[in-house]
Subunit: 169 residues, 2 copies
DNA sequence: ATCTCAGTCGTTATAATATAACTAAAGGCG
DNA sequence: CGCCTTTAGTTATATTATAACGACTGAGAT
């Protein structure tokens, strides 16, 4: 599930991932939270994966760098990363992806967001979008019945643009 | 997790549930699918529960009526009921609820629908709604990036109306 | 009537995901 | 340093879900 583009034992990540990890480190500094080595490795492994990474996939890869890693090692790191908003959990897949918004956008760090996820059943890729129309519709539908929404899971399964092209050839 | 309003060993369900089971049986007849005794029991147990029922909760209760029920017994019944659209799986809870639309509405049986679920973090109740604004927003957001949506998981966690009242007293 | 095939179910074992509980080490701070 | 909080190691276990295989059942076909 995780791609294997590791270069060295000591610094396994691609330049892109390293840049994102630097952003994550800076972000954690501003929040006075600690991106420890284990947490950084877990985030890096998630960012390297082109598909959502399962906890035990992450564990397998983590063990290349920390021999004695165990399930709690990974789940604690995941809990931390979720709490910081650096990753998302995809419920339908029991798997985790990096937050595109937190690490990739140019709106500045720390702004909250309400994301939706488009899951391609062809290639398994998941893309994160932030559509205000969906968010508003959810808020308004909730209000209609007196429900006070706090957190949403929006996961849309279907076929991504590139898989549609691949099919039509 | 399941309420215990069973009346007799042989016919454990409330009048309301019995009526819904009758509808389910009629619905299955129209589709030439078989609502067997085990499947009927599992659906009944789900309908009796005021909260989403986990597979192993269902199993515990099912064993009162079928001593040798095992996990596959329940999961097979759940697979069938999901395929018929008689229940939904709530991903965030790994649990199952009856489909309000299929069994309760007056639009006639067999019409598909795109439901959303409001999960109360106070009382654990889940209500199913069908909001076209949300559905349209999802379709339109998907189209914007060339994604072809097929199936959505929309789960909104928050506080239901009655829990809000309870808090404010 | 019996054959056969698909669908259903019983049974056992195991896979996959996640957490509890306790101990030890590490880091911030007076 | 000594104290306290956070983080991590370790073992065991809980929770959710499926694989695999054989037996039974019931509806048509021969
Ligand atoms: Zn995000
Ligand atoms: Zn795709
Ligand atoms: Zn429904
Ligand atoms: Zn409530």
């Amino acid at each position: 599930m995780l791609s294997s583009t590791a270069t060295t034992e000591l610094d396994p990540f691609s330049p892109r991932t390293l840049a994102l990890l630097d952003r994550a480190a800076a972000f954690c500094t501003t929040r006075a939270s600690r991106l420890t080595e284990t947490r950084r490795l877990v985030l890096g492994l998630i960012l390297e994966s082109r598909k959502p990474a399962g906890a035990y996939d992450i564990l397998d890869h983590l063990r290349q760098y920390q021999r004695n890693a165990a399930p709690p090692t990974v789940y604690r790191a995941l809990d931390f990363l979720l709490a910081q908003g650096l990753i998302h959990r995809i419920e339908r897949m029991s798997a985790f992806i990096g937050c595109a918004h937190r690490l990739d956008c140019h709106h500045g760090n720390g702004c909250g967001h309400r994301a939706q996820f488009l899951i391609c059943s062809g290639c398994g890729a998941v893309s994160e979008v932030e559509d205000s129309e969906i968010s508003h519709a959810i808020t308004s539908a909730s209000r209609k019945i007196g429900f006070k929404p706090q957190q949403s899971t929006i996961e849309i399964e279907g076929i991504c643009a590139s898989c549609q092209q691949a099919d039509s050839t």
